[in-house]
Every structure is written in structure tokens, then in C-alpha cells.
């Protein structure tokens, strides 16, 4: 190889630069498109001209000035309504089944004369933590995601991005942020990776920092559970589902409002800049393979939930049981920590156990409620948690009101991203500073919002 200076590659580039002019790209692409057009003219015949424009006709409805937003809202509401209505029965059936099975497992432990701490760790900790996640998470997720996948495969999501673009532009963010948010409904950690579709670093950072304001897989069930137990308490049947769904929809919309506000503030301060250019393709609507999509998405989601249940909920369940059973003086480590957090938590309308559950739930949002229940149960009598009413009973005994539930929902919606998401944020941004901010910004918002809500409600005397 020649080792003489100048480098032959530089020489080549210089030569090329001398020959090139500003228009080269335009000429190249124009020639290519011309060639494409010629080829198409000679190989493609259109026999049904009117069929070409079906997508455009549908878009005239789905993205119309009058119907665009109402349809989006209606679709969101229907998806959530169907999820809640459909998940109720399988959830309680699973819970009953696991409760029934637990009886036999306990019996087996007794037969083997296993020590009670072993039964505690494995059954009361690991088994209960895992089965809780399965029975509460699996049914809603196995309903929500297939429906969502159908909408996605049909081609509706880019229309959402089209409809909402102006709001994102106004807040200095990228129009494709709505697509990464849609990913967030499934899993914030995956959504962080999906922000790669946004090329401008500034706008991508906005999408990363605000993604967790979209409730993920691990938080949907918490929102649904609390809404149905406390917000819709006075209603029955279809009305109950409707009220629950409305509360959850309101939460989602609130999350979007927070996303836009935070993006706006950041793009006026730490991430100053103007929105970059963007183009968005609106692909043709295509009828999805309905059955295929449902089966695949249900399987995928179920495997995902089960995997999470084993890898995250199981160890967390064990750890919580241990913390709840190691005594320091006359109190347990768990109770002691909860007491320590209590005064601060009360300011947010929560209590020490709730805050502790969020802290211990850092690895995964799925385990917040199971940890909370275990905490409460270790403090009081040990009951079987085999129905939704039993759960409510436990909460009420701990002094919960609708305000506690509301605050917990808000905190869940707004607080720091889960451990996996934080790791992904670090991997994607390669910056400790931004990873820390992605923890601090949501957390402070969660604190401020719940603090304000609590004090406002108390001041107004609504409770």
C-alpha cells in the first residue's frame, strides 16, 4: 500500500469535490425518479382508479377538523373500556385459582415439615408476589395489547401523530414523539430505544425525558385497579366500568398534558432550540390479519408478563417478605422504614408504606402494589387476597380514601422511570447527567402534583 502523503483517499475526495456542484444530489435523485416513473408507466396498469383513493377518503374522516380529535379520544376510551370490562372476570378467576393452589402448596410444606421461614419466603413472598403479578397484569395486558396491535397494524397510529403534531411543535418537540409515546404504553424501556426514530438529538432527548408520563404495561393495572376500587365505588355493572375507564382515560390525558408542558419548559430552558424539520409518511390503511395479530400479540404479551413475573416479581416478593420479617427491636425493618417515610408521604396524601413500595418497586412498576399489600398484611392479620374486595378492605383498613387512591395513581403516572428504563436511558444518552435528570424531573413533578392535590382538597374541605 502506498504510504505517501497526501493520503490517496483525501486526494480522491478533493478531486470529487472539484467536479461536484451544489445541485448534484438533486440531479441524481431527479434522474432516479424519472427512471422509476418510466418503468412504472410501462409495467403498471390501474384498472380501478377509484380504489386508489380509499385511504385518502378514510383520512378525510380520521384526520378531519371536526372528527379527528373526537375519534382519537373515542378510540382510547373504547380500548380502555374493553380492557377493563374484559379483564375483570379472568383476573378474579386467576386469583381464586392461585389462592386455591396456595392451600395445597402450604399443605405440602407442612407434610415435609418445612420450617416456617422457608414457607414464608417461598410461599408468602415469592409465590404470592409472582401470582399477584400474573393475575392482575396478565388479563388486562392480554386484552389491551392485541387491540392496540390491531390499530397499529391497521395504520392508525401515524394519523395520531399527524393530528397531534402541532401540539408537539408548539412545545418544541418532534412530531414523531407521539409514536414513541405510543410505544411507551407497552413499555417505557422499549420506547426509549424507539426514540432513535427522532434524529435531532435535542428533540430525541425531550422524547426520552418525558416518555414515562405515558403509563406502561406495569402501571396500567395499578391505575385500573385503583380507579375501579375507589373512583367507581358507588357504581355497579356497566356504569362502574364506564366510570373506571373515564378515570383512566383522564389519567392518560393528564400524562399527555404533562408531557407537552415539560417538553415546552425544557425547550425554553435546558434544551433550548427550535423544532427541526420533519416529514411523516401516512401509510395506506391495511386490514390487519385479525386472527394472526391477536394470537401473536396475546402470546407475546403473556410471555412478557410471565417473564417479568418470574424475573422481577419473584425476587422482590422474597425480599419484601424478608424485610417484613426481620425484627429490629419490636418492629420489622419494613415497618420501621415505612414509619420513617410516613411524615413526608402524608404531605403527598400517601403513607409510608405506599412510598416505600414505590421505592422498592424501582426495578419494575409491576411489583409496587404487591409490595404494598405485603407491607400492609405483614403489619396486620394475614389474609388471603383472593378478590378485589379483599384488596379494597386492606386499603380501607389502612385509612385509605379516594384521595389516597388518586394520589397513588398520580404518583404512579408521574414518578421516576423504572430501573430498566433508567438503564436504557443511560445506554442511549451515555450521560449520567441526563439519566439523573430523567429521574429527578418526573419525581419532582410527582411530588409537586400530589402535594398540591392533597393540600388543595384539604383546604377546599372536599374530604
Amino acid at each position: 500500500m502506498r504510504a505517501t502523503a497526501p493520503n490517496p483517499f483525501d486526494e480522491l475526495m478533493e478531486n470529487a469535490n472539484r467536479l461536484a456542484d451544489g445541485d448534484t444530489r438533486e440531479q441524481i435523485v431527479a434522474s432516479i425518479f424519472q427512471t422509476s416513473r418510466h418503468i412504472c408507466q410501462e409495467t403498471v396498469t390501474y384498472t380501478k382508479q377509484e380504489k386508489q383513493y380509499e385511504t385518502e377518503k378514510l383520512d378525510r374522516i380520521f384526520t378531519s377538523k371536526i372528527w379527528g380529535f373526537p375519534i382519537m379520544l373515542a378510540i382510547l376510551a373504547v380500548v380502555i373500556y374493553v380492557t377493563i370490562a374484559g379483564a375483570n372476570i379472568p383476573s378474579s378467576m386467576l386469583a381464586e385459582f392461585f389462592g386455591w393452589l396456595e392451600g395445597y402448596i402450604t399443605l405440602l410444606f407442612q407434610q415435609l415439615h418445612a420450617p416456617s421461614w422457608l414457607h414464608g419466603i417461598l410461599v408468602l413472598g415469592l409465590y404470592r408476589g409472582t401470582t399477584w403479578v400474573v393475575s392482575v397484569m396478565l388479563p388486562p395486558m392480554a386484552i389491551f395489547f392485541p387491540i392496540f396491535a390491531l390499530l397499529e397494524n391497521y395504520g392508525y397510529l401515524p394519523r395520531v401523530a399527524f393530528n397531534m403534531d402541532r401540539l408537539f411543535k408548539k412545545s418544541g418537540a418532534h412530531g414523531k414523539q407521539s409514536l414513541t409515546m405510543a410505544m411507551g404504553f407497552g413499555c417505557n424501556a422499549a420506547a426509549i430505544m424507539s426514540t432513535r426514530i427522532i434524529e435531532s438529538p435535542r428533540e430525541r432527548m425531550l422524547a426520552i425525558l418525558t416518555n414515562n408520563f405515558v403509563p406502561c404495561n406495569g402501571r396500567w393495572p395499578t391505575l385500573i385497579l385503583l380507579a375501579s376500587l375507589f373512583m367507581a365505588a358507588g357504581y355497579t355493572g356497566g356504569w362502574k366500568t364506564l366510570v373506571t375507564a373515564s378515570v383512566v382515560v383522564a389519567m392518560v390525558i393528564f400524562g399527555i398534558v404533562v408531557t407537552l408542558t415539560v417538553s415546552w419548559i425544557l425547550s425554553k430552558t435546558a434544551l433550548r432550540g427550535v423544532p427541526t424539520h420533519y416529514t411523516l409518511e401516512l401509510p395506506p390503511y391495511r386490514r390487519p390479519k385479525i386472527w394472526d395479530t391477536i394470537v401473536r400479540s396475546t402470546l407475546d404479551k403473556s410471555v412478557y408478563v410471565l417473564k417479568r413475573a418470574v424475573t422481577v416479581a419473584a425476587p422482590a416478593g422474597m425480599l419484601t417478605w424478608v424485610l417484613a420479617n426481620i425484627h429490629v427491636g419490636d418492629t420489622t425493618v419494613l415497618a420501621y422504614s415505612a414509619q420513617l417515610l410516613d411524615p413526608f408521604a402524608r404531605q403527598l396524601g400517601l403513607d409510608g408504606y405506599i412510598l416505600l413500595a414505590f421505592i422498592l418497586g424501582l426495578p419494575a412498576n409491576e411489583i409496587v402494589v404487591p409490595i404494598l399489600l405485603m407491607g400492609y398484611l405483614s403489619a396486620g392479620a394475614l389474609l388471603e387476597v383472593d378478590s378485589m374486595n379483599a384488596i379494597k378492605q386492606i386499603f380501607v383498613e389502612q385509612g385509605w380514601t379516594w384521595l389516597t387512591a388518586l394520589n397513588m395513581m398520580l404518583f404512579s403516572l408521574l414518578h421516576y422511570p423504572c430501573g430498566t428504563t433508567l438503564i436504557n436511558i443511560y445506554k442511549e444518552t451515555k450521560s449520567k447527567k441526563w439519566t439523573l435528570l430523567s429521574f429527578l424531573i418526573p419525581t419532582s413533578i410527582a411530588v409537586i402534583v400530589t402535594f398540591t392535590t392533597t393540600h388543595l382538597v384539604q383546604w377546599l374541605g372536599l374530604l
Binding site: 444530489r25 438533486e26 435523485v29 431527479a30 425518479f33 424519472q34 422509476s36 386508489q52 385511504t55 385518502e56 383520512d59 378525510r60 384526520t63 378531519s64 377538523k65 371536526i66 379527528g68 380529535f69 399527524f162 393530528n163 403534531d165 402541532r166 401540539l167 411543535k169 412530531g175 434524529e199 423544532p275 427541526t276 424539520h277 420533519y278 416529514t279 411523516l280 409518511e281 401516512l282 401509510p283 395506506p284
Partner: protein, 83 residues
């Protein structure tokens, strides 16, 4: 072609056809627009505006592409009547 006669793509109304003459925009955005078929000589159709007034969807090479006003302001050409 007299320059004064050139219209901006952003001025074209839904339903109108438009023939692109030139893109007065540089860098990545220009290359992106070219890749999508916003090439001098192409004819495109204005489809509709988003519910909030911007962006606007265009039919180009049998596909639908949405552009914000910031981009369509820099695409010049002739308005060649309604579809």
C-alpha cells in the same frame, strides 16, 4: 420560467395539483424531501390539513406524506389546477 410566477407549496389549497420547480432548502431536509419524491418536475396533490391546521398531507408518487408549513414554504412550483 419567470421567478415571480412561482408559488409556494404552502399556498396551495387542499384538492389542488402542484408541479415542483425547485426546493429552496438545504441539508438533510432537502435530501429527505428528495428521497420521498419531492423532486423538481414531480406533480403532487394537496390532500388535507391536520385538524389543528398544520401539518398538511400531500400525495406524492402514490404515497401520502405530511409536511409542516416550515418545509412546504420552501418548495416552489406552479399551481396547476384542481384535481
Amino acid at each position: 420560467m419567470a421567478r415571480a410566477k412561482l408559488a409556494r407549496l404552502s399556498d396551495a389549497k387542499p384538492g389542488e395539483r402542484f408541479r415542483i420547480t425547485k426546493l429552496e432548502i438545504e441539508g438533510t431536509m432537502k435530501r429527505r424531501l428528495l428521497d420521498l419524491g419531492f423532486v423538481p418536475g414531480s406533480e403532487i396533490t394537496v390532500l388535507q390539513k391536520s385538524p389543528l391546521g398544520d401539518p398538511t398531507a400531500y400525495r406524492v408518487s402514490y404515497t401520502t406524506i405530511a409536511l409542516r408549513k416550515e418545509e412546504s414554504d420552501h418548495i416552489y412550483g406552479e399551481r396547476i389546477g384542481n384535481e
